[in-house]
Symmetry: C2
Subunit: 333 residues, 2 copies
């Protein structure tokens, strides 16, 4: 678990998109961050107060979170100076970079000297068990996609927020690096060893109050041949009571797979439900989340109406319209 | 790739079952082994000539294969003496033990000194790619089970043998430690990191002659919640042209999961075929392999006849009746 609150390190981000991890923290867990630290030439701004390490420290910041992608996969000399200074001041550091903090000898040495933690959220920090399949108390909802990167994390975060607003008990459960940095905990499922994937999901979503919902971030797609095994582990390890089908209607083909057509939502619904019911016979598909970012307002409204009629389920774009109708569907379950 | 031929180390096996890896090598790749090495008190015998390290060396043995499970997960002092002596004489060593050879400092030191290889087949030795999904030449058949440990490896090995006997081009592709030790190569799929599982299966079954078949060893089951993600990666990474459904009809419940009923063969057929056709739209289920070891001859015959009528597919026990009818079904495809 990563200690909050954070100071968000934006470094020398070349544009706003490069800081999407920091933006996600600001959007979804603003209370987790006291401010942002930008270096000279930084072109991103997530709308938090600019602070030095010392200023943020005085506001209580415990962890410097690298909220930006680095260029060329290398931690630059300029970044390194800031990171070493942070450790010197007693900050922990958390990172989802491909190149690991723990592979940087000077950071490791300084962290040991100062008793600080280095969190590389791309790699597991826990020895997960093999899944037992034992029925757990509490309820779980999982976002399943027709493809990768169709908005499953966004849907889960928006749903979690909408459920809390309705007074429901809900916890977003992160299964990828961005989600882990946003919430401070989770399982980097794509980096878990095969035999322990489903066990890692069970570990992430333990017994809970009967009326509590875990909102599990989905990964990949059962129809995406590169990552479907990861999705499968979520469907079985998560024991979901409810599924939300997530879709992006303008894809010419599956992400990264030019020869593969995006499946119909009904295909994902049917196969996901068949497999989910192995672990939880009562599982239901309760709604559809469509990422309509490439449609006009009128197109989006028409498309959602059509999907809703065809599938007989509430269909929303959580970004455009909020996720309250999905939360309502879960409440009604 | 493990160098052949082998000398099979049976150690102080307490019974025949403990030597099942050695037995598998003797049964399926007898040409891979020059003899067996048994220590005092060994209760197993796979029917090969007993040899000392020196005798086997003179017959050309290159690798000492640990063909026996060790007690308590510890490499004993008595075993260690044999292993060190083998390295001293220039043997490589191959092992599927949970406790790794590479974690034994004295073995590592001696292997380095003598320029010998230590093969721990439980862990991957290759940095597998992420699956590309690109269609490969050649044909592939995958064994899919209603449960774990229903005879998928045996079925694949028997099928490979039957296909060769018919003059077909066939290669058994191992995906677990026993299969890897039997054939000298393969992918320990349950130990691969999630993101690379399907890519590891693609790596294992590359482009080949148009009339060549890879016979892929199955793992787990799409309906076994602990390991279904591994199975999923085989279904998509393997791009199978054909599936064989494997079943054991006397199981009271899924292996290790007392609350989970074993699915119907038709359920596995339908969901496996739906998912396999994502990667290979022409995929067909061509036959059923039933492990009838707990049935009498009469019961087995009656059961297979019933299955054959219900499923409309050849149904055999490859151990009792051979796998030729399955090979025939593939040849007819």
């Amino acid at each position: 678990m990563i200690q909050t609150p954070y100071l968000l390190f934006l470094g020398d981000a070349p544009d706003q998109l490069a800081a999407k991890v920091a933006q996600g923290i600001k959007d979804w867990r603003p209370d987790n961050a006291v401010g942002q630290l930008r270096m000279e030439g930084c072109k991103a701004d997530v709308g938090l107060a600019d602070m030095t390490l010392a200023e943020a420290k005085s506001k209580g910041a415990k962890t410097l979170v690298i909220g930006v992608a680095n260029r060329g996969g290398v931690i630059s000399k300029a970044w390194k100076e800031v990171l070493l200074a942070a450790l010197e001041m007693g900050y922990d550091i958390a990172s989802g970079l491909h190149n690991l903090l723990e592979d940087e000898a000077d950071l490791v040495e300084k962290a040991e000297e100062r008793g600080c933690a280095l969190h590389d959220v791309r790699i597991p920090s826990v020895a997960y068990p093999i899944a037992s399949g034992v029925k757990r108390s509490g309820k779980r909802v999982l976002a399943v996609g027709t493809d990768c990167s169709v908005g499953k994390m966004y849907t889960a975060l928006a749903l979690d927020e909408a459920m809390r607003k309705r007074g429901m008990k809900s916890t977003f459960r992160a299964t990828g690096q961005t989600g882990i940095l946003i919430t401070g905990e989770g399982v980097p499922l794509d980096a878990v060893v095969a035999d322990f994937m489903a066990g890692a999901v069970e570990y992430l979503t333990p017994d809970n109050d009967a009326d509590h919902w875990d909102v599990i971030e989905g990964q990949g797609s059962l129809f995406h041949v590169s990552y479907s095994g990861v999705t499968m582990a979520l469907v079985h390890g998560g024991q979901p009571d409810a599924l939300i089908v997530c879709h992006e209607p303008t894809r010419p083909h599956m992400r990264g797979l030019p020869d593969y057509a995006v499946p119909e939502m009904a295909d994902i619904r049917d196969v996901a439900l068949t497999l989910a019911r192995v672990a939880n016979p009562g599982c239901q598909v309760v709604g559809i989340a469509v990422n309509t970012q490439h449609l006009s307002d009128a197109e989006a409204t028409a498309y959602l109406k059509k999907v809703e009629a065809e599938m007989g389920l509430p269909a929303v774009d959580p970004f455009r319209h909020g996720a309250d109708r999905l939360a309502q569907a879960l409440e009604a379950l």
